[in-house]
Symmetry: C2
Subunit: 369 residues, 2 copies
């Protein structure tokens, strides 16, 4: 293998695949990045066997070939290289490469390319196309609601449900649930329901750029892949049955209130400073009144009490929520207003983004004395 | 106490004193910020009994008075307040304050002002005036060379030596030594030699702004203070005898080399990736040759070998240094060129900044096989 590249070329590839590099030490070669020079392209690949990422970067290939380089060393070195012509040359005697630039040469040992586990070609039984910025937004508005501990793996993933040409993404940690719907670009007859690991979607969101035009999602009952022109992310699917979210979201309510998203968020952030529980949980009490909402929180340090103006309909209800669960949703709602519907102090609250109905957030109330 | 202030007023005061707030739990009131409203000024004070910081902020004082508020809660709240008129009112019944803004009120419990330990007025036996930006630069060019472990407390401080109207600051961790000299603004006949805690100088550098004009340093054999118009930092002094740095810095050399600071730094940063020691130390070997310096470093991962052009005089010397100690100095030298003088592979190397002679850095070589 012999290639001529720029620092930017190499960084593009490294940055795309880096998060898939394994940080466990069980299989040493997985701590490396597989480089393959073919046809004036350099392919970068990394995998931890749960997720695999491949990225294609155009470079000048003098001699085709492959090598696996230790990811941390290679990436730190490339970040520190000058902006000059960089020549990477396979060195058989050390099973590694020489990296030449200016009046300098670095030798870096690696592993033989053929020992790197291949990322399998995914035989899809579905293939859909989504607009990149829509998918990124859908990930942002659901991923935060996944569970972080993996006692019950299905809650660390996001349900990805295709029904009547509409895509629904749903995440829950059993205290709250986020549902985001979006349209496909192509027609897709199949109804599909799979659970995608949260980590995978986080990577998709990080790697895929908003100006990447077409994004193809392929999948079967074991794997799913996200592909743009230059990048492919392939991931296992989480086995198990996701709870029926449609049953959980109530269709009726006793009270409705409309509130300005930003003002509500800032108020909750201040109230969040007064956590009344040992574990740091802040309990926020909301009291509806004519034309305003009273928000209170107290701890042994003191208390906060604020009023914000709202538009409201229906019964006056007093209800308490965990501040964190409110804030998580308020941070990712991008409409100026939002709607909250309530059915009583012990029934879940439902938050919807203001103008469109594509985001629904359910949050369980806290029982207070 | 009753005052009317802006968010910016309160933040200015909090930010200035915050680092002096004690994070030990032994004396609860020291986790607070002492507020004293006098004469249309609000004074903020915090101390951990080693360092004390006081800052004066102009506000509208309706009623004079004082209170100590829990620093973390008060500062987090203020950071989240809206940009509006903020009224702080003493509440005798909770020994605390009510903080009012818009349609909201926060109650925060604190401690009685009179229980806060007073920062003593410093009876100085010297008083000097330094230009702010010179002092900031002197701190930057010495503080990094202090020891981080406090086995031998004097090495966690910076020697502050006044001699013939010149100020010398010196720091060493016994592996390297940094000396920075600067002129005073006023005349000062006394010769003074005290050791100031590194933490104190870090705070001085953080708090003092370059546009603060006059900076007065006062001190005696126990304490030192740094004062601008609105801010005062007072600190204990470290007891002990600092090594005689003049004896340590050799006045003669066998070889001199001039090198571009930035190119040298970038080369060492790359070489630093190849650490040959278990503890992560990178040994950098420098080999002088006609018109260039060869820099090499190797580890079991590989090696790096670079050449940079230099201007040199005297014997060709081969010498090895710890990369970290070289980099620490290269990062804070602000001249385009620097000079290195060497006397042999086992004698200390001396780095001087290019154009002026006010910065001297001594670094012990490593013995290599």
């Amino acid at each position: 293998m012999k290639i001529i590249a720029t620092k930017e070329n190499l960084l593009d590839g490294i940055n795309a695949v880096q998060k898939a590099v394994s940080n466990k030490n069980t299989i040493p070669i997985l701590s490396g990045i597989f480089l393959k020079a073919v046809d004036n392209n350099l392919f970068f690949t990394a995998t931890d066997l749960e997720i695999g990422i491949e990225c294609r970067v155009p470079v000048q290939v003098i001699e085709e070939g492959e090598i696996v380089l230790p990811a941390r060393h290679f990436s730190e070195l490339v970040r520190k290289l000058p902006n000059t012509k960089i020549i990477i040359n396979y060195l058989a005697d050390i099973i590694g490469v020489s990296i030449q630039y200016d009046d300098a040469e670095v030798n870096l040992k690696g592993w033989p390319g053929e020992e790197f586990p291949l990322i399998p070609e995914l035989e899809g039984n579905f293939s859909i196309e989504v607009e990149t910025n829509i998918l990124k937004n859908m990930i942002k508005q659901t991923l935060f609601a996944t569970a972080t501990d993996d006692n019950r793996p299905i809650f660390t993933g996001v349900l990805f449900e295709l029904e009547n040409n509409e895509l629904h993404m749903v995440a829950t940690d059993t205290h709250r649930l986020a549902l985001r719907s979006g349209m496909l670009k192509n027609n897709q007859d199949k109804n599909i329901s799979i659970i995608i690991p949260g980590k995978t979607l986080g990577e998709v969101n990080r790697i895929i750029k908003e100006d990447d035009e077409a994004l193809i999602i392929k999948g079967n009952m074991n794997q799913v892949s996200f592909e743009t022109q230059d990048t492919k992310i392939i991931s296992r699917i989480i086995e198990g049955k996701f709870p029926n979210y449609k049953q959980v979201i109530p269709q009726e309510y006793k009270s409705l209130l409309k509130v300005k998203t930003k003002a509500f968020q800032e108020t909750i952030e201040r109230a969040n400073l007064f956590s009344s529980e040992k574990d740091g949980t802040s309990i926020i009490k909301l009291v509806m009144d004519k034309g305003f909402l009273k928000i209170t929180s107290r701890s042994e340090m003191g208390k906060v009490e604020e009023k914000i103006t709202i538009f409201s309909e229906g019964e006056s209800i007093e209800i308490s929520f965990n501040a964190k669960y409110l804030l998580d949703a308020l941070k990712i709602i991008d409409t100026e207003d939002l709607n909250i519907t309530l059915s009583g102090p012990l029934s879940p609250g439902i938050i919807r983004s203001g103008n469109h109905n594509n985001f629904v957030y359910l949050i369980l109330p806290l029982r207070t004395v």
